[in-house]
Symmetry: C3
Subunit: 117 residues, 3 copies
């Protein structure tokens, strides 16, 4: 039988769902930084991802794939300032960054990762 | 040798591709509900996903990751009415919902999942 | 211990990251075809993907999931001309194609795949 584990289960989605060695995260959004700068929102989201990774005994060096959706692609370089400082040297994940409309007008970005345990 | 299985193979894409315990779906689009409401299109797509999951001996409680692209983010709440009723309580997948341009002007949304067998 | 392998590691992202039998690619973008047609850019990107797949002992018949982001959804059919000729008959991946803003104004598209070894 397939053994699926979930963290942060709500009615609409779970924060993350684990199958075997692979953890699929939801899109993470700003929690404490709404209305603040792109840098602050990026730090907020990456901090939440760090925390969720720690909960499952993983860490940012084990991210396999990251998808970054920016509300405005003009934020690309300012987001990257925070991202580049956050990534573990030599252990960067596969990544893509695109612009899309986000669910809340106050979101400058949303980040989703797939990580290894 | 890596054993890959495919369901609904066409020239351009397969409906879903399986490696080990993990099934990667294509983006599913409205089939019988084109030109109808967001709710109808959402039901249509989720019904197709249910059917494909059944074909591989899985079901909606085993979805790991769901990505929802809305043609208009203003549809967020109406799509969620159908989504929330569809999700199995306590077994919600990781999810993200963003707005993007879709391949056909009649599509209100497109949904892609990764599921466990 | 989880064994992760990375190819093309840079400060910001790796070209691809492997866990077990699954390889997660970054979004691939035009390298030699900037400012050229959608067909040329598609050929350029798919050629890079072929090359990366070869480096890990895989090939285009083992792609599980492909995501294609077009800068302009009006390019859908011209991109598909190149895509359809490239896909291995009977072994098409799961796929989605949507329109999103891309990181560089010269990019007509960006493609990301998940592949089996």
């Amino acid at each position: 039988m397939t053994d699926i584990k979930r963290i942060g289960v709500a009615a609409r989605y779970s924060d993350l769902v684990i199958l075997g060695d692979t953890a699929y995260f939801s899109g993470y959004v700003p929690e404490t930084s709404l209305g603040q700068s792109v840098q602050e929102q990026t730090r907020d989201i990456l901090g939440q991802i760090d925390q969720s990774l720690a909960e499952i005994g993983s860490d940012r060096s084990k991210i396999l794939q990251a998808t970054i959706w920016l509300a405005d692609i003009a934020s690309y370089e300012t987001m990257n300032e925070v991202w580049d400082a956050w990534v573990v040297a030599g252990e960067a994940p596969a990544r893509i960054c695109i612009e899309s409309g986000l669910a809340h007008p106050g979101y400058a970005l949303e980040i989703r990762v797939i990580a290894a345990l």
